[in-house]
């Protein structure tokens, strides 16, 4: 029989176990962090991949696969170049991100990469890294704070992507034109640029047109999330019965929009254009749920970030601001995409396929 206190001890030690299993494997990694040169002289021989220290990467949010891909590709590229990449999740909180940067400085990392959670408020944290002499690189999202020195940026040309999305919308709606909804995420400057590009293309299209205008009737907050995209679209469908197109600033909110259309039985009336080209989004394009995506190249972002760090540390020149143009991705691309071949997808329902056909050949 157990005494009362021994029962408590068991409960506590079980919790302790939970705690330990939560962090043990990574701790082993961390004890290897203090890598680097030997004693006073380091002019000795060279190893195959010489360890060059740590790169700290503070990701915007690892809940979005896009940033997870950046993190993974960066870790991979880091390894081949002799870096250990320390990935932290800021969960969209710039305060959290500042903590990460403070930690990186205290740890004395070789370089810092981040997706700024707030393009202005991240300034003071970057300045601290500047003062500590640690190079800072941004990725995907840019920093707009004054007097914060960023040593390099790699991102998507969001404006160009927005224009491609606009073109795709024009192609899909054809001469008939119609009403269009935008699912926005205003907090992110990248999304503001996407919508700007999109809007401008539509404005040019409408310019000398008597009929068949494509008009943006509503710009709603989609939060970049499936559930919010779903809610906003449902509401918009109530308000605008004749909606013909939706531009969602990323794939999750585009998928939310599709669910709303399906509930309202309007999948054949409304065309969705997404953004990103994540696996889910690509699959949806293959299934005909989304008409087209301007796709980004997160893998490339991670790789180029590491390459830029190597060049910086080697004292070589590199592109300080590099914007990767997006490419439009449609069903035809999806059918050839090796990424989608690997995972079997259910055959699209016949109705859904035919509706895409009707859109492609409008009157």
């Amino acid at each position: 029989m157990l005494t009362r206190s021994s029962r408590w001890m068991i409960a506590m030690s079980m919790l302790g176990l939970l705690f330990v299993t939560g962090c043990t494997p990574k701790d082993e990694e961390s004890s290897g962090t203090g890598s680097g040169g030997a004693a006073s002289k380091s002019d000795g021989g060279t190893a195959a991949v010489e360890s060059r220290g740590t790169i700290g990467f503070s990701a915007l949010t690892l809940k979005n696969p896009f940033f997870k891909i950046i993190a993974d590709s960066m870790t991979e590229a880091g390894k081949t170049n002799g870096f250990e990449v320390l990935v932290n999740d800021a969960e969209r909180d710039v305060n959290e991100q500042s903590k990460h940067i403070d930690n990186y400085i205290a740890q004395g990392v070789a370089a810092i990469v981040l997706n700024p959670a707030d393009r202005i408020a991240i300034g003071p944290a970057i300045r601290k890294a500047n003062e500590a002499g640690i190079p800072v690189f941004t990725c995907d999202l840019q920093c707009a704070a004054e007097d914060a020195k960023v040593d390099g940026h790699i991102g998507t040309d969001n404006y160009q992507g927005g224009r491609l999305a606009g073109d795709a919308m024009i192609e899909a709606l054809g001469d008939a034109g119609g009403e269009v909804l935008v699912l926005h995420f205003k907090q992110a400057n990248s999304c503001v640029l996407r919508v700007q590009g999109f809007t401008e293309v539509l404005a040019e299209h409408n310019k000398d047109r008597e009929s068949g205008n494509i008009t943006i009737v509503s710009e709603l907050e989609g939060g970049g999330l499936t559930d919010e995209g779903f809610k906003s679209t449902s509401d918009a469908l109530q308000a605008h019965q004749n909606l013909r197109g939706i531009f969602a600033i990323n794939d999750p909110s585009a998928l939310g929009a599709w669910t709303a259309l399906k509930q309202a039985k309007k999948t054949d009336q409304v065309t969705i254009i997404g953004f990103d080209g994540q696996l889910d989004g690509k699959r949806a394009i293959l299934e005909g749920k989304i008409y087209a995506d301007p796709i980004q190249f997160p893998k490339q972002m991670g790789v180029v970030s590491v390459q830029n760090i190597v060049k910086y540390l080697d004292g070589e020149d590199y592109e300080k601001v590099e914007l990767i143009p997006t490419a439009i991705y449609k069903k035809a691309d999806a059918e050839k995409d090796p990424d989608l071949q690997k995972t079997p997808t259910p055959a699209p329902a016949p109705g859904e396929v035919s509706l895409i056909q009707t859109f492609k050949s409008p009157g």
Binding site: A11, M12, S40, V192, E316
Partner: protein, 453 residues
């Protein structure tokens, strides 16, 4: 013994955590002080018999400059020649090496520190290829300070970081502790933090004169910001007392309303900046007054100001709770409101005061946040309420009310901070961190139960 463990459980846990992280973060440390510079200089002088020629290469930081200056001085007093001192980026190092390699026939040594020794141009292979073109550096050797083994967790910089990063949470936790001691809860603190930040930012930009704002103007703006939050707290208190709405519900409502207000103010402000034509985006309201950053990013006697503010508030709160009538009343109201009322305690007044203090603390935290990020962020403080409640609970305050210690909360906040810091340093993904924190909170409550048995 048992009693001692039960009473000081959280402190023991904190110390144990620190010890644990000290062991797992044990690793090489690389000194970068002027003293280390002198040692390196001595090593260089000892290594070469003739008059030695040296290039000093470090990064461009205050510390590195002091280090390279020490090296230079020591080499020169030792009879050597310093050909160049480079304080800059890897590119500067490369250019400097090419330059000395071309200009001088013999360069003996590079004196550098750990950070710069990792740069490409200083790598043996790279040096060899450079030497092919610039033969002056063909015999060059790289010297850097001797490293030593020490836990990277246990450095002054890291410990100061841990506290500084969590000062905001710890400040809000003061107010939350009081509320929880009265058996209440305040979910609105995170939103109030944002509301205060935004309000203060707008007040500085619009009323205090923006970039030209003086000290009085800044203080006035802070007062407006905290005042708004205090009023929100009073509202919470009035609802809880006079209208008998459960605190959970009132503050949940306030959490949403305050967040909404913060976003509205920020968006309106951005829109006004753009001329009012288009709708603004919910970005931070930028504070241009440079002096405002003092609170969040400055330091006094080498200690960051948020830490000093936090400590001052904790001492004040501790005195209030243990040495004044108000403190006794708060405990009494939490322990048994009816008995307190029948003993002449103004229960409603005490409750309203407690919620007002909680609002004011969230406001102060909002000012620290705004100062730290040089702008009022409408999205600041999301989910802080839960972090703060966790800190209070881990610190040993009972959610049933009537019990709890102010410094217990500080220890609780630090336990969470240390765990998070350690996990971040070890690169544990946020997914696992969440599990650890959940377990931690459960463990804290179990400890509390254990104590009561």
């Amino acid at each position: 013994m048992k009693r001692f463990i039960a009473d000081n459980g959280s402190i023991i846990v904190l110390l144990a955590l620190c010890a644990y992280y000290s062991v797992v973060t044990l690793g090489e440390q690389h000194p970068n002080t002027p003293a280390a510079g002198q040692e390196v200089a001595a090593a260089i002088l000892k290594d070469s018999s003739e008059q030695v020629t040296v290039v000093v290469i470090t990064r461009d930081t205050v510390q590195d400059r002091a280090y390279s200056e020490a090296v230079r001085a020591a080499i020169e007093t030792g009879g050597g020649t310093v050909l160049a001192v480079v304080n800059g980026a890897p590119t500067d190092a490369r250019l400097a090496l090419e330059q000395v390699g071309g200009a001088f026939s013999r360069v003996d040594a590079i004196a550098t520190n750990h950070s710069a020794s990792g740069w490409g141009p200083l790598k043996p292979q790279k040096l060899k290829t450079t030497a092919d073109k610039f033969p002056g550096i063909s015999g060059i050797k790289v010297f850097k300070p001797q490293s030593y083994t020490w836990p990277s967790f246990l450095t002054r910089e890291n410990l100061v970081n841990v506290i500084n990063q969590n000062a905001v949470i710890a400040i809000i936790a003061i107010g939350m502790t009081l509320v929880i001691i009265t058996a209440g809860i305040d979910l609105s603190v995170g939103s109030l933090l944002a509301l205060c930040g935004v309000t203060t930012a707008v007040a500085i930009q619009q009323m205090a004169g923006g970039a030209d704002a003086g000290t009085i103007g800044l203080l006035g703006a802070c007062l407006i910001g905290t005042g708004v939050c205090t009023l929100c707290g009073i509202f919470n208190g009035v609802m809880v007392t006079w209208f008998r709405v459960p605190a959970f519900v009132v503050t949940l409502a306030m959490m949403m309303v305050a967040r909404g207000l913060a976003l509205i103010v920020a968006v309106q402000y951005q829109s006004a900046l753009l001329g009012g034509g288009t709708e603004g985006t919910p970005e931070a309201v930028r504070i241009e007054a440079a002096a405002f950053g003092w609170l969040g990013n400055g330091a006094t006697f080498g200690i960051p100001n948020p830490i000093l503010l936090m400590l001052a508030l904790y001492v004040l709160a501790h005195i209030t709770m243990t040495k004044t009538s108000v403190g006794r009343y708060i405990y009494a109201v939490g322990g048994n409101p009816e008995a307190a009322r029948l003993s002449g305690v103004p229960v409603f007044g005490v409750l309203i005061l407690v919620y007002a203090i909680c609002g004011a603390m969230a406001g102060l935290a909002g000012i620290v946040d705004a100062s730290r990020f040089e702008g009022g962020r409408p999205n600041a403080g999301e989910m802080y309420e839960l972090q703060v409640i966790a800190a209070v609970v881990v610190g040993g305050t009972s959610l049933a009310g009537g019990e709890g210690r102010i410094f217990g909360t500080l220890v609780g906040a630090m336990i969470i901070a240390v765990i998070q810091n350690g996990l971040n340093m070890a690169g544990v993904a946020s997914y696992e961190q969440k599990c650890v924190f959940g377990g931690l909170i459960l463990a804290a409550v179990l400890l509390d139960r254990f104590k009561r048995k």
